[in-house]
């Protein structure tokens, strides 16, 4: 069952092409890690799949009637957010907004959903705290909870462990892994942490220098690009 399939897409920003002729697909239940050097177009690829940017060429097909309100997204933090006075509860609840339809206010089931997700992610005790006072790990958890509030099937994570200390990072990866394995949520994650990518994911997409690689984790470990990238890291 293909949730997303990208056929021969080319991407770029500021008039520069960064990804050429890329094809891959994501199936229901997959845990896809997108790896590659800085500036290789990982975030742009994710934004394009989310339809925040247009591809230069090629097409992206959302399968199985996947709708906007089944997608969750954890973007990289923006400057605005770092000094934004908002409570954790307000942020997580805002994830359920795509279930409102035309109703201007949150209904009871949306609040229950947000509460349940905060329990699951382990931030129920900081619900009334202000987002800008939290530690980096807590902030990422809040954004993950918001993504989950929005998503029932598929979450996109753009460097969810960026700026976290090793312990918080490990916790974050474990949490995402549980969501994928236990709740069956499809995960598409950008990471520059190749070891974590190889440890948890089912599929790897490597972009940057051509040829790109797309396949299962096992295939990646056997491939030339995979060996080079992994051993390059270890040296």
């Amino acid at each position: 069952m293909e949730l997303i399939s990208c056929k021969n897409i080319s991407l770029g920003y500021d008039g520069r092409v960064v990804v050429k002729n890329l094809s891959f697909c994501v199936n229901s239940g997959d845990y896809l890690c997108i790896v590659g050097e800085n500036g290789s177009g990982k975030s742009t690829l994710m934004k394009t799949v989310l339809r925040l940017c247009k591809p230069i060429a090629g097409e992206i097909v959302m399968g199985e009637g996947l709708r906007h309100n089944e997608i969750g997204y954890l973007p990289q933090q923006t400057e605005i957010q770092k000094d934004f006075p908002a409570s954790v509860w307000e942020i997580v609840l805002s994830g359920t907004l795509n279930r409102c339809g035309l109703c201007p206010f949150y209904k009871r089931e949306q609040k229950q959903r947000a509460r349940a997700i905060m329990e699951k992610v382990g931030i129920a005790d900081i619900a009334s705290r202000s987002y800008r006072e939290l530690s980096g790990g807590q902030q990422q958890r809040v954004l993950l909870a918001r993504a989950l509030s929005a998503a029932s099937r598929l979450i996109f994570l753009d460097e969810p462990a960026a700026g976290l200390d090793p312990v918080a990072m490990e916790k974050m990866y474990e949490l995402i892994n549980r969501l994928n394995k236990e709740d069956g949520i499809t995960v598409m994650m950008i990471s520059h942490d190749i070891e974590a990518a190889v440890k948890y994911s089912s599929h790897i997409l490597h972009i940057g220098e051509e040829p790109y690689f797309f396949g299962t984790k096992e295939e990646y470990l056997e491939s030339d690009v995979g060996k080079k990238y992994l051993f390059g890291k270890q040296d």
Binding site: R51, L52, I80, P85, S87, F105, E133
Partner: protein, 292 residues
């Protein structure tokens, strides 16, 4: 007469009461919109628009359409040119701000100053009034029309504020999401562009409306100050909104009272109150953070 009696004496005039009510309404609306603008880093739109509104006002007064306005007439006459020009500029400024390739801030600074220059030039060259500097001063800092507010101006202000408040309440949750994280809001299906446009249009209408009382230069202070003050201490979005509303309304109310008693210009007195409130809340915020 003591202070209280003086105040009662002034308040016995209907136009003073009208000015007080309209001033508080302006403060209320601008604080609601201000939180969104400040947090989206769009305060420059409010500032740019106010300069453009001044330029448009000057041109329209030269064209005699709002002659009555510039010399202290009702609100309605100014709308014919100033409102459409400001609304269109709001859309354009928003587009410029979103386009990261162009240096948005520099361009807006350029447009603002040009509008001011053109406005002043037009007012001078094509002046129909004997008191040019009075007209310019009135349009920039708001003074003349405060004593000429009519009952219909009051009604218009009440309706306009009610519309702003209703729009804000209905869109509150969506505005929060779009303000906190535009990328997320877009990705999950929110029509962020439409909301941004709506906010820009409402702020344009607000500026044109408030120009009469507060003046075009000072209105952006009413938009940004209460939000900034509230952000120093508030912990949630809702509390920022409520606090900035309270700060703004109080500053406007006491500012206008003060300006009546001391015979100071209304707009600048209110802005001084807002500035003082900002200083107070900044100190309070710093104190809270140190205590925590």
């Amino acid at each position: 007469m003591n202070v209280f009696e003086t105040l009662l004496y002034y308040l016995s005039f209907s136009y003073v009461r009208y000015a007080l009510i309209v001033g508080v309404l302006i403060a209320l609306c601008s604080s609601l919109l201000g939180v969104t603008l400040v947090m989206k880093r769009l305060s420059f739109i409010g500032d740019g628009l106010s300069h453009i509104a001044f330029g448009a006002m000057a041109v329209s007064s030269a064209l005699n359409i709002s002659l009555q306005m510039a010399t202290g007439g009702g609100m309605a006459q100014s709308m014919i040119i100033v409102l459409p020009v400001t609304l269109i500029s709001a859309v354009l400024l928003l587009r410029l701000g979103e386009n990261s390739k162009i240096k948005g801030d520099a361009l807006i600074a350029m447009i603002s100053v040009s509008a001011l220059a053109v406005g002043y030039l037009v007012m001078n060259v094509f002046s129909v009034s004997s008191n040019i500097s009075g007209d310019v001063c009135g349009t920039l800092f708001g003074s003349t029309s405060i004593i000429t507010l009519t009952f219909s101006d009051l009604c218009f202000s009440l309706i306009f504020s009610a519309v702003v408040v209703v729009i804000f309440l209905l869109l509150y949750n969506r505005l929060f999401s779009a303000t906190f994280d535009e990328a997320f809001a877009r990705a999950t299906g929110l029509r962020v562009g439409a909301y941004n446009l709506l906010i820009a249009l409402v702020i344009a209408a607000l500026i044109v409306w408030a120009m009469n009382l507060i003046g075009s230069l000072l209105i952006s202070a009413l938009v940004v100050f209460p939000a900034l003050s509230a952000m120093r201490v508030a912990k949630s979005f809702k509390s920022v909104i409520i606090l900035s509303l309270v700060i703004s309304v109080c500053c406007a109310f006491f500012g206008i009272i003060c300006s009546i008693l001391l015979s100071t210009p209304v707009g600048s007195t209110v802005v001084i109150f807002d500035l003082a409130a900002f200083g107070l809340f900044s100190a309070l915020g710093a104190f809270i953070r140190r205590a925590a």
